[in-house]
């Protein structure tokens, strides 16, 4: 099956808002796109539209959380992490308030809308803020589990969700443990492919031919440094695959782990090379910017 992670978010949120009277949902005129409309359908009294005013939405979220509410606030990743950044930083993260920023339409896979709407740096921005946790689920099942997880943990969280359909990696029965990286496939010890978001599926496709180990890193912060260190030690070559800038995302996170140790394994980034995206069909954009299994094979096979 293939499903959008934003759809999974909408479904899970609709379930949680009915179970937990403390949950309040905010959106900024994108309820149909971010899928918070699903929560609004079942609980309109606890869904508030801030209008096209992301900064005020984040401030409202902070105020609600300061009154004891668990707040889910959604917009596109570019506006949540960009436009509203400083409100998230000063009014949500600094006071460690219980706000879950669930940002959809992340990365180049937004497609036709083009560079103004394609966040390539949101993970870098959000990782850098003290107190903020950062999660990037790769499929519908993991997205639902992440939403359940962030609803339970205390404090600010950023969840990166996508617009397009992505193939299932997990299933209904999967038990998730976000304190650890998830080794999805064990290879022959030569190549390890670390991946986040929709690049997990691409890494899995590429891994068949390479007999590579594939690791889903969905919790970018807190990061399972021990797990990553172990995998770097047991493989000869490592690659970080991400639908995100090579600056400040998964590659940087893994390189940071390595830099603090005596590990000599080379890590190569496979991501967006410090550039903006462009309009096009999602799959055409991803292909042009090298975010495919084929490109992973090209890079690994040199």
């Amino acid at each position: 099956m293939a499903q959008e992670t934003r759809n999974a978010y909408g479904e899970k949120l609709a379930e949680l808002i009915q179970k937990d009277k403390n949950i309040v949902v905010l959106d900024a005129d994108l309820t149909k796109s971010t899928k918070t409309i699903e929560a609004k359908k079942v609980c309109p009294e606890r869904h508030f539209n801030a209008g096209i005013a992301e900064c005020n939405m984040m401030g409202m979220a902070a105020g609600l959380a300061a009154s004891g509410k668990t707040v889910f606030a959604s917009s596109f990743a570019i506006f949540a992490s960009g436009r509203a950044f400083e409100i998230i930083r000063n009014s949500i993260c600094y006071p460690h308030l219980n706000v879950k920023v669930c940002a959809t339409h992340a990365g180049l896979s937004v497609g036709e809308d083009g560079a103004s709407h394609q966040s390539v740096e949101d993970v870098a921005i959000m990782r850098a803020v003290p107190n903020m946790q950062v999660y990037v689920p790769c499929d519908q099942y993991e997205a639902k589990a992440v939403i359940e997880h962030v609803a339970k943990v205390e404090g600010p969280c950023y969840v990166r969700l996508g617009r397009g359909k992505v193939e299932d990696v997990y299933n209904e029965e999967t038990k998730f443990d976000f304190s650890k990286v998830d080794v999805l496939r064990k290879g022959n010890g030569d190549v390890v492919l670390f991946a986040m978001g929709l690049m997990v599926q691409e890494a899995l496709k590429a891994a068949e031919e390479l007999d590579a180990t594939v690791v889903n890193v969905s919790s970018l912060k807190p990061l399972d440094e021990k797990g990553i260190e172990e995998l770097l030690r047991t493989h000869k070559r490592a690659y970080a695959c991400e639908e995100h800038s090579v600056i400040g995302g998964l590659f940087s996170a893994i390189a940071d782990v390595k830099a603090k140790t005596d590990i000599t394994t080379r890590i190569t980034p496979i991501g967006i090379n410090d550039t903006f995206g462009e309009s096009g069909k999602s799959k055409d954009v991803l292909q042009k910017y090298g975010l495919t299994a084929e490109h992973i094979l090209e890079v690994v096979n040199g």
Binding site: V24, E45, R46, F48, A50, G51, A53, C55, N56, M58, G59, M60, A61, A62, G63, L64, A65, A66, S67, G68, K69, V71, E86, I87, N90, S91, Y94, P95, H96
Partner: protein
């Protein structure tokens, strides 16, 4: 309301503001002195906050959106017996009394503020939470006239009006000055009355350094149904210290020893 008592509290608060900024040789005396009467009125007349409920969120809340006026907030909390931290630690290392207020360090601080404009949005969130909880508690936000140059202030007012937050009161502390000078010369945020009214708020104007006028304004705010109230409180920046009054140079400057002596002389008794 005992006006003499309020004036006496306000005098103590002003003396502590000057003392804190002098001791730290850092801080914002001008706006703090100007807003001292508004905070005195809120904490001694208007809000249902006391020693027993200060650590709870189930009470009236106050957001100092103009967070740089933290000396006024700490001094009023101290005057009301709600603050344990020694005022002498203000802006010093390891103190709970941060340069701009941190809600997690001080029970009486209801929101961490400092980056201008954000407190009004936070107040909107608190007021919505009160509505959801069917609580009669009210939310007060103090915002500077210079601060109103931030766009988020108007986003927040739009939301407060849209969600009919009649449990919310936004006080514009209109002293006419900001760091770089006269607000109208810097960029021209005035008139606030017409702007706030155009957004749909009920607007009251008063002298923010006059307790009788403040009393009328806050009582009127409680009568407004279905709309938030904006109180435009005209104040004198630096109020009470002769050489600081209406002088923007004292927005964020600390008095030296000679200045300090004059200030304490100015604030010797209720005038």
């Amino acid at each position: 309301m005992d006006i003499n008592e309020l004036k006496s509290h306000a005098l103590n608060i002003r003396r502590n503001i000057v003392q804190m900024v002098y001791d730290a040789q850092s801080g914002h005396p001008g706006g703090s002195l100007g807003a001292a009467d508004i905070l005195t009125y809120l904490y001694f007349e208007e809000m249902n906050v006391n020693r027993d409920n200060v650590a709870s969120t189930n009470r009236d809340r106050f957001v100092l959106s103009k967070g740089h006026c933290s000396p006024a907030l700490y001094a009023v909390l101290h005057e009301a017996g709600l603050l344990d931290e020694d005022l002498k630690t203000f802006r010093q290392i390891n103190s709970k009394l941060q340069g701009h207020p941190n809600m997690n360090y001080v029970d009486g601080v209801d929101m961490s503020t400092g980056s201008l404009g954000q407190g009004i949005s936070c107040g909107v969130g608190m007021a919505i939470a009160n509505k959801l909880d069917n609580s009669d508690n009210r939310v007060y936000v103090l915002c500077g006239d210079g601060e109103s140059e931030e766009g988020i202030v108007w986003e927040a007012l739009m939301a407060a009006c849209h969600y009919k937050l009649d449990n919310m009161c936004i006080i514009f502390d209109q002293n006419g000055l900001q760091i770089d000078g006269d607000v109208q010369e810097v960029i021209g945020p005035l008139p606030l009355k017409e702007k706030a009214a155009a957004f749909g708020a009920a607007v009251v104007e008063c002298n923010g350094n006059d307790f009788e006028e403040l009393d009328k304004a806050f009582k009127a705010a409680r009568e407004n149904k279905g709309v938030p109230t904006v109180i435009i409180a005209h104040t004198v920046k630096g109020k009470g210290v002769s050489y600081m009054e209406n002088n923007y140079a004292w927005h964020g400057a600390a008095p030296k020893e000679e200045d300090y002596k004059i200030a304490m002389e100015d604030l010797k008794e209720v005038r």
